[in-house]
């Protein structure tokens, strides 16, 4: 359906305006202007920040340079989360552009993974896709694909090629008609309040009786507190791709259209800002 295609396009081409500034303590005599960039929501930090690195390397003494890392308001940003997820989780309700601080020293070993080359990102991305397909199709579709198809998925993401990516990805979004949907919905529920990184469990797109599960059913199952009971004010925002879908939205449709390129439905639950 043309609308669904538009949805896919809008999801893919979503951007976040970001301002990168070098950490104050690392600034040398050369002035380093902040660098502005529109980051793609669906990509990963270390994949799209080459220009940032080049820009700031000019201002930094060469002998001081180690691996570049980012933080926002004191929180080191994990590069292996999609950018959109990071933004929604940390800075959704703040003023745009999103201000990220660039560090070249004092890499926080405990918080962040090292990302020394693009192959690391590729490996992570592909493993997410495989995990998602394991949940959706018992890994049959991903295993039937050839290596060049996997490569095409990665290249599509790396080079920001919607058509190249979705030529392969649509196979992962298909399901046998008698099933009525995927075997299980791949999702991760992120939240800022607890120490758990995310919630990921098995959840069917439809009940055994044939009842289509909705987003509300998922939340009821996984994070009941997020659902506001009648009468109470809404306490939590449930964000997918930066928007709040209605709770009656079918889960199957959400998984097909609002997943990230890694085929996971990343859901962020934020407390409603009080002010």
């Amino acid at each position: 359906m043309a609308d669904d295609k538009d949805v896919l396009r809008d999801v893919w081409f979503g951007r976040i305006p970001t301002c990168f500034a070098l950490y104050q303590d690392e600034v040398t005599e050369k002035e380093a202007e902040p660098f502005y960039l529109l980051l793609p929501r669906v990509s990963y930090l270390t994949l799209v920040t080459d220009k940032v690195k080049k820009h700031f390397l000019k201002a930094v003494k060469p002998e001081d340079v180690e691996e570049m890392w980012f933080e926002y308001e004191g929180t080191p940003l994990k590069w292996h989360y999609p950018i959109g997820v990071l933004f929604d989780l940390h800075a959704l309700n703040t003023a745009l552009p999103w201000s990220i601080t660039v560090h070249f020293k004092n890499f926080p070993e405990r918080d962040l993974l090292h990302c020394l080359s693009n192959s690391v990102i590729e490996a992570h991305f592909m493993s997410c896709i495989k995990e998602a397909d394991a949940l959706k199709h018992k890994s049959q579709v991903i295993n039937d694909m050839q290596k060049k198809d996997h490569k095409q998925l990665w290249m599509g993401l790396q080079n920001d090629k919607f058509d190249q990516f979705w030529a392969m990805n649509r196979k992962l979004m298909e399901y046998p008609t008698e099933e009525g949907g995927f075997r299980y919905i791949p999702f991760r529920i992120y939240q800022t309040m607890s120490d758990r990184p995310f919630i990921q469990k098995l959840f069917r797109p439809a009940s055994p009786e044939g009842h289509t599960h909705t987003l509300g059913d998922l939340l009821k199952e996984m994070y009941p507190a997020a659902i506001a009971h009648d009468g109470d004010a809404k306490k939590y925002q449930v964000l997918i791709q930066g928007i709040e879908p209605l709770l009656e939205t079918p889960l199957q449709w959400l998984s097909e259209h609002l997943s990230h390129p890694d085929n996971f439905l990343h859901v962020c639950i934020l407390p409603v800002p009080t002010d």
Binding site: M1, D3, V7, D10, R15, P17, H55, L246, W253
Partner: protein
């Protein structure tokens, strides 16, 4: 804000809500900032570029430029060296190229030379082929000529055959005419005979008339009858073997003294092939020789020369031995064709043929008065024959191949290959005495006084045996070798010498009295001598050899 015509989406209102929210999100986050960020990035680029220009435009400081100059100088020096080296390499390559080009030129020359040669050879080949074609044409022409000549030859032969037929026909006609003429004549004779007979029947005959009448009208071929012959017409019995006057006993001539020959008087090639036997007649100086060519030639000696007198043929194979009878008119010969033959010396056709042996007859001898002949043969028998009946009277089994035999009054003495000499009594037909010889006996001769026997042995010696006293003497000579299994040795007619021919072509003569070699006549024969014979007069010795040579020796 862009206005896009949006179709009302299908599905629930949740989809509408989602689409709307996405749009709003993009407006807020993306579109509001895109231009701004784009312009900012461009400004940043421009400033960094200009900063870069400023930096490069600045003159480099002193020490840096000097070192740069040095570096440049060293670089130019290195480059110059490289140029020189490359130039040298270039020269070398140039030289190599020239050499190869010269080699190429040489090879091309060689190739052109070879091509010229090839063309010359091809021209020669064409010439040879033309010559061949010419020869072939000649050959064809000759072939045609040959065919024509062949046809002519065939025509001629055919004509010749036809002519021959004509001649034969004519001859036949002539013969027929002759036959008819003869018949007519004989018929005429018969008629006259009948007339005469009838006439004679009518005339009365008395004994007187018959006795006084001349020769009767019997056919002229009959020999003259004796006076007391029966008056009836005798049946014609064929040619009788002998006639009256020939049967009269003639006393044998005796030689008083023989003379040892000294030199050869006459030497000739007497026969066509090798001569095996030679014999002087016992009554005259007539000689008979016979050999492999199946004929016996008669010679007589006149003034030291052998003159050919006649030839007796009729033997189917070679002659082994010859003997004259005591009258000298008959010749008996033994032959390889398993028979003995008897001739009259004036008739070349044999009178009697004695067949019955199963192998070659080696010796045939007249025996005594009553017309008997003894033959010895390789089939280990001796046969006695009666000449009147021309049949074998008795057969004596001897035990070995008989090579020669002699007859004395009552005995037959035979020499054998097993080295024995056997005496046979003809009346009892048994062996009375067996005497060992030195080796294979090849010939025997009895001396004229019938007392001494000379035997020739294969192991090159002659033996003299005294028949009455049983003592023996051996005659040997250096150089004397018995040449064959049938070499003949003879006594001289007076019994004082013994002669034999040797394989080396020499005639050896020993003295019998003391056993010494008297002389050796050589130089005339080139082959092994097969037989010798001493003339009854004692004057001549004839030797014959395997190479058909006969030599007459005498002492004058």
């Amino acid at each position: 804000m862009s206005c896009v015509a949006v179709k009302p989406p299908s599905g629930g209102r949740w989809k509408v809500d989602v689409i709307r929210q996405l749009k709003r999100r993009d407006q807020r986050q993306h579109e509001a900032f895109s231009d701004l960020i784009r312009h900012y990035s461009r400004m940043l680029e421009k400033s960094s570029i200009s900063a870069g220009f400023l930096r490069t435009a600045r003159v480099p400081s002193g020490p840096e430029s000097l070192s740069q100059n040095d570096r440049l100088k060293t670089m130019t020096g290195e480059l110059a060296c490289q140029v020189v080296a490359l130039q040298q390499e270039l020269n070398i390559k140039q030289k190599v190229l020239e050499e190869q080009q010269s080699r190429l030129a040489g090879a091309q020359q060689g190739a052109s030379g070879a091509q010229a040669e090839e063309q010359a050879l091809q021209a020669r080949a064409a010439g040879v082929q033309a010559a061949n074609a010419g020869l072939k044409r000649e050959y064809d022409a000759l072939l045609l000529l040959h065919a024509a000549a062949d046809a002519r030859v065939r025509a001629e032969t055919q004509r010749g055959a036809e002519l021959l037929e004509d001649v034969i026909r004519h001859k036949q006609q002539a013969a027929a005419r002759l036959n008819s003429a003869n018949e007519r004549r004989s018929r005429a004779r018969q008629v006259t005979l009948q007339k005469d007979l009838r006439a004679a029947q009518e005339t009365p005959i008395t004994m007187d008339t018959f006795l006084n009448s001349p020769v009767s009208t019997s056919p002229p071929t009959d020999p003259p009858e004796r006076a007391h012959t029966r008056p009836f017409r005798r049946k014609r019995r064929g040619n009788s073997v002998c006639s009256v006057d020939q049967e009269a006993f003639r006393p044998g001539r005796v030689c008083v003294s023989a003379r040892v020959p000294v030199r050869a008087r006459h030497s000739l090639d007497a026969h066509e092939q090798g001569i095996n036997a030679v014999r002087f007649s016992s009554s005259s100086d007539m000689l008979a020789t016979g050999g492999t060519d199946r004929v016996i030639k008669l010679w007589d000696v006149q003034a030291g020369q052998l003159n050919h007198r006649g030839t007796l043929d009729g033997s189917a194979e070679g002659i082994t031995s010859i003997e004259f009878d005591q009258t000298g008119f008959k010749v008996l010969a033994a032959s390889y064709d398993k028979s003995a033959l008897l001739w009259r010396i004036d008739d070349s056709v044999p009178k009697v043929t004695l067949t019955g042996h199963s192998r070659k007859v080696t010796a045939a001898r007249f025996r005594g008065c009553p017309q008997q002949v003894v033959t010895g043969s390789a089939d280990r028998t001796l046969k006695l024959w009666d000449l009147q009946k021309a049949a074998c009277v008795s057969t004596l089994q001897v035990f070995s191949y008989c090579s020669d035999l002699v007859c004395s009054e009552n005995a037959v003495i035979s020499g054998h290959f097993d080295g024995q000499i056997r005496l046979w009594d003809t009346r009892t037909a048994s062996c009375t005495l067996e005497l060992p010889a030195q080796g294979k006996v090849t010939s025997l001769d009895l001396c004229s006084d019938l007392r001494q026997l000379l035997s020739c042995c294969r192991d090159d010696c002659l033996q003299l045996l005294d028949l009455r006293g049983n003592n023996r003497m051996t005659l040997r000579a250096e150089g004397f070798k018995c040449g064959s299994d049938s070499t003949k040795a003879v006594f001289s007619p007076d019994g004082r010498y013994a002669a034999a021919g040797s394989a080396d072509g020499g005639v050896y003569i020993w003295s019998v009295t003391n056993g010494d070699l008297q002389t050796c006549l050589s130089g005339k024969h080139s082959a092994s001598i097969s037989a010798v014979s001493w003339s009854l007069s004692g004057d001549y010795v004839v030797s014959v050899d395997k190479s058909r040579r006969a030599v007459l020796w005498s002492d004058i």
